[in-house]
Symmetry: C2
């Protein structure tokens, strides 16, 4: 249990409602990937300045901190012990600005991937990162884990989509390398260190993201392969013949395919069981009919 | 002039022929971007171990070092004074291996961009970075400057094409993060620090590069625009309608266009003078005829 003075310092820093301990912390929704939320206290700051203030207090006291994003990770990176403080970015959930001509978006770290995608779509643009946890996963978590997702073959990993970011170090120092220029080579690119380092070097608070043209056609194909070498050849074939339109190429093992297409799953199997590997692929293009027939011809 | 003991240590490290000083250094080809080559001595090691050995000797002596790649840069990053030692990567010019299925290429830093492109082409693949100095510019220089080039809109900057690298620190320590896995998120991605930092943190000696599908159609268009906002709209339009096929979009100011199309230049102007901005664009696709008509329709 944190001492009274520390708790009152935290409350002074972020406000009464943003500091959860005791019953209020125990009542917090249980999360499968983290297990029961255990921590000395949970703090949810609303701004970079508040994150900095909280970390400064923790640093002075030697208080261990575990950052929380959307908690969709499956590797227990967000697990905390009774002695640790959880710093959740959930209250930093503002989309700050969009530059439609420059195709960039500035968001706070607690904005979900899905809201980011929707904001881009509103301006007829695409934020290309996509993964199953989109409704809960946050941009801060996508950055801290350097997420890949289903469209990594076309648009690259999160690292390729982050133009700039702001992070707070353990002692409260705010590092700002917010940047909206795609081809920026000034100085050392220190922001790269915060991408994929799971919050161990600092807590990401805001980011400038890169948007791209929104595809006008989305076509999918589901293919069964006799063995894995065939999958490799298929990837080379479709990547070459779709010429930049291949958006996703997801390989499914037969066990996974069977379990997701037999009750209690509600999906029925589009192809018979018994093949060695299955592939779900997507082409992203500009002309719905021409692109559909191009995908069909490629697979003929 | 470096003292005899240091010179003989360098010769012991890399061999007589790899240490140039005095007349042999003065006779070296003059380079426009660097100006007359001035240095205490020039050393051209043939391996990472030799680079390490040379840097260790320089470190012990407090000898300043200037790394040399292809010398195509225009910002005097390779200029040296009479007191500095030039470490040229020119003798580290081996293409070490190609993984055709995994689409990676391992090269030494002194390999030129053009040889890298040709090696990829030999395996029906593409190394997508491209710029005018390709015949002279080296991979080490492309990495150290985080080169962009004419196809940056499609394939990203050099950072996006480097999967792993090896670098030698000033004290001779060899750091190896050679890696051929595209989606590698293990540990801190320290190699990022060497990309774009102009050799100030260490000398890049080898790299694993990413290859992509080789396009089967190359179509170009040259367009005159009435003003710059039109250029921005044109980029959005073609990027959206070419759906991943837009390979290059280079903007030319009228002064540049005129000077490159009037004698002594041998080119004749494809479009009349007098427009505010010109754009040279390229589409990279899979079906030569269909892609050509798609580009024409997009611009109609």
């Amino acid at each position: 249990v944190p001492n009274t003075e520390f708790l009152s310092d935290l409350r002074a820093a972020v406000g009464e409602q943003a500091v959860l301990s005791g019953d209020r912390l125990r009542d917090r929704a249980y999360d499968e990937s983290v297990g029961e939320v255990r921590a000395a206290v949970l703090v949810r700051p609303r701004s970079t300045a508040e994150v900095s203030h909280v970390l400064r207090l923790c640093h002075a006291r030697g208080q261990a901190v575990v950052p929380h994003g959307g908690l969709t990770g499956l590797v227990y990176g967000a697990s905390a012990t009774e002695n640790e403080l959880i710093l959740s970015l959930e209250a930093m959930n503002r989309i700050e600005s969009v530059d439609v001509a420059g195709r960039t978006l500035r968001v706070e770290a607690g904005v979900t991937l899905q809201r980011t995608q929707e904001e881009a779509e509103r301006h007829d643009l695409l934020f290309p990162l996509d993964l199953g946890g989109r409704g809960t996963a946050t941009i801060g978590g996508n950055i801290s884990t350097n997420a890949g997702g289903v469209r990594v073959v076309r648009y690259g990993m999160m690292r390729n989509l982050v133009l700039g970011l702001e992070a707070v170090l353990a002692d409260g120092t705010v590092l700002t390398s917010l940047n909206r220029v795609l081809k920026n080579n000034t100085g050392y690119d220190l922001k790269q260190l915060f991408i994929g380092s799971e919050g161990t070097l600092g807590i990401v608070t805001r980011a400038d993201l890169r948007l791209v043209s929104r595809p006008r056609s989305f076509n999918t194909a589901f293919v069964a392969c006799r063995d894995f070498p065939t999958v490799i050849r298929l990837l080379g074939h479709v990547d070459s013949h779709l010429a930049g339109q291949l958006g996703a190429f997801e390989v499914l093992w037969p066990e996974f395919y069977e379990i997701t297409t037999t009750p209690p799953a509600t999906q029925s199997p589009p192809l018979p069981y018994g093949h060695a590997v299955y592939v779900l692929m997507e082409s992203l293009g500009a002309e719905p009919e021409a692109d559909a027939s191009r995908l069909e011809q490629t697979l003929a």
